[in-house]
């Protein structure tokens, strides 16, 4: 018997991955980013959450290599004197957490709704209309609405604590129809196949047929949209934070860092906005490139030329 690891080592998936330089590079960059984000307390030179280490005198120091820079702060400091590099790493951690969390929530709701509406024909119409209604609200509109209510209800201090789960819930709830539609379409294609009929003839229950037989066969499109959706969720969060409705400045995400620096860009402190911006673009780019590879791998019919 081969172990799972041995099987993985011999698989075509690994082979094709190693032969694709774009996918490989993206994966390495993403791995470094994720590692340094979640290892931020160890990796980062300063702790931006600890107010005792922050000196207001250090505010707006330029990056180390430019004039007025200090070797203590590699990428300079922001308006409150926090080290940019450390703040960005902590911020990326928040962004990734929200992105992945929101996608898990979307996938959870979307897969259940998609399975039910694809397999149980009676529920199809009502569930899909709910999805349509959901899609006709803009994510930002819902976020602004809920965010405003929660901010007044909890006050600024309370909002700090609920901000992460709140953003996960908002972005998750706004985007689940994407999953529901994809899963439903695949279920409709799969339920006509003979193995489903065979499973019914064996006398399996409907739930078991849905969960064990149909769902695994619909997972490849789910995997593909998941990668794209993580990137989208991170961007949504950044956009919301930019509008001042996302993460508070005391616990900044990449988006709120960009906004915070925006006020200082004309006074010459460009690094406060530019570095988080570059990091955000890089993060989104590698996730999307990896998503492209996953799509090409799982759907060989799409081979480009």
């Amino acid at each position: 018997m081969r172990t799972r690891w041995q099987r993985f080592k011999q698989s075509y998936m690994l082979y094709s991955f190693l032969r694709d330089p774009v996918a490989l590079t993206s994966f390495i960059i993403l791995a470094i980013l994720v590692f340094s984000a979640f290892g931020a307390p160890i990796v980062a030179p300063h702790d931006p959450y600890d107010p005792t280490t922050i000196e207001i005198m250090d505010a707006q120091i330029a990056p180390a290599w430019s004039e007025g820079g200090s070797s203590k702060f590699l990428l300079g400091t922001d308006a409150q004197g926090r080290d940019m590099l450390s703040t960005m790493l902590y911020g990326m951690r928040v962004s990734l957490l929200i992105g992945v969390g929101a996608v898990c929530l979307q996938a959870f709701i979307g897969i259940i709704v998609g399975l039910l509406s694809g397999y149980v024909r009676r529920l199809d119409n009502i569930l899909m209309r709910i999805a349509d209604v959901q899609l006709s609200f803009s994510t930002y509109m819902i976020a602004i609405f809920i965010g405003a209510i929660v901010q007044t209800a909890f006050g600024v201090a309370g909002y700090d604590r609920v901000a992460v789960p709140l953003l996960i819930a908002i972005i998750g709830l706004a985007e689940w129809p994407q999953y529901a539609r994809t899963v439903r379409a695949s279920v409709l294609a799969e339920r006509k196949k003979e193995y489903v009929e065979a499973a019914r003839i064996i006398g399996l229950s409907r739930i078991r047929i849905m969960w064990r037989h149909i769902l695994p066969n619909t997972l490849s499109p789910v995997l593909v949209i998941s990668t794209v959706q993580v990137a989208n969720a991170i961007m949504s969060e950044a956009a919301l934070s930019f509008l001042g409705l996302g993460m508070p400045v005391t616990k900044p995400s990449l988006g709120s860092l960009i906004t915070a620096g925006f006020e200082y860009i004309f006074s010459g402190s460009w690094w406060i906005t530019i570095f988080p911006g570059i990091l955000l673009v890089g993060l989104i780019l590698v996730i999307n490139l990896l998503g492209d590879w996953v799509r090409d791998f799982l759907n060989p019919k799409l081979y480009k030329g």
Partner: protein, 323 residues
């Protein structure tokens, strides 16, 4: 002999916007315990619909509109979905045409087999695995322990059909419905699978309904044959009688159309014309427009099954006239 299943005046209709299609019209058949019955007929004669109606899984808009299916003393045509679920795959199993399609591509065959057992029997995982191995050995799968953890794509077509048969055997059913089980396989494998089915039915004393359009195959495996035409049984008798001494002009045509009956002629024999549309049947005998021995009566009256001296039942006025 103990009666296993009795189909009484079964009718299956498909109600469409453009009219009602009567796919099965008044079919009555009985199968005894351990008996093998072949159902032959051309495409669209209602063979598969008959098979599916026995396990009450006709796809919509099809519906059983009349008759009874009595299985071990109960009328299962009236059972609810949940009641029927306990019979499907448990007491009555079904084998399909294309083994490439009937196995789930993303689950190992071990998982798929165990699932069937656990759905119907209260046994532990270990015991289920033991049953799987036993049945796989019965269908002559070499080194079954290794095979259990493999996926369907790692098997050849013939092997897959063996596995499908093994799955149908798992719960020791009383009846297997095989819907053209060898059509998708090549000739040498066909013979193997048929031999296997025959052997299993004999050793396990299972009933078999073999649905096919291949007369040569049925005659080797089954004891009795029912010839279906346009949703009706036109001839029913022992396999030997039907092959050597067919009574209905349609059966005669079918047998003449076998390539081995052409005897060196350049062109194969065929029955002229086509089966009438199930939507608008002619008033009389459905075979009348194609029949070579047409009587005036055939155009207005529908013949019913009559038993001849040889024991064969046939629905044809010609035969009535002889007696």
């Amino acid at each position: 002999m103990e009666q296993l299943i009795e189909i009484k005046n079964l009718r299956v209709d498909f109600t469409l916007r453009s009219g009602t299609v009567r796919a099965v019209r008044d079919i009555s058949l009985t199968i005894n315990r351990g008996e093998r019955l072949g159902i032959v007929g051309e495409s669209g004669a209602g063979k598969s619909v008959l098979g599916f109606s026995i396990i009450n899984l006709i796809s919509k808009p099809g519906k059983i509109t009349g008759g009874k299916i009595i299985f071990r003393g109960n009328d299962i045509s009236k059972y609810s979905y949940e009641q029927m679920r306990k019979i499907r795959g448990n007491r009555i199993a079904m084998i399909f045409q294309d083994p490439m399609m009937t196995l789930n591509p993303v689950l190992t065959i071990g998982t798929q087999m165990k699932e069937t057992i656990l759905a119907h029997m209260k046994v532990s995982n270990k015991e289920a695995e033991k049953i799987c191995l036993e049945k796989l050995r019965k269908v002559y799968i070499p080194s079954p322990e290794k095979r259990l953890s493999q996926y369907p794509h790692e098997f050849s077509g013939g092997m897959r059909q063996r596995i499908v048969i093994a799955i149908s055997l798992l719960t020791n059913p009383n009846l297997i419905i095989a819907d053209e089980p060898t059509t998708a396989l090549d000739v040498t494998i066909q013979a193997e699978i048929m031999d296997l089915l025959l052997e299993l039915c004999e050793t396990e004393n299972m009933g078999l309904i073999l649905i096919t359009h291949d007369l040569a195959v049925v005659s080797e495996v089954t004891q009795r044959i029912a010839v279906l035409y346009a949703g009706k049984v036109v001839e029913l008798g022992s396999s030997k009688q039907i092959i050597t001494n067919p009574q209905h002009p349609y059966t005669q045509g079918l047998i003449k159309a076998l390539p081995q009956m052409a005897e060196g002629a350049k062109r194969l024999n065929q029955i002229p014309g086509m089966m009438p549309s199930l939507r608008d049947m002619p008033d009389g005998c459905p075979f009348a427009p194609r029949c070579a021995a047409l009587l005036e009566r055939c155009k207005h009256e529908i013949p019913t099954l009559k038993e001849l001296e040889s024991g064969t039942q046939v629905a044809c006025f010609m035969r009535e006239g002889v007696e």
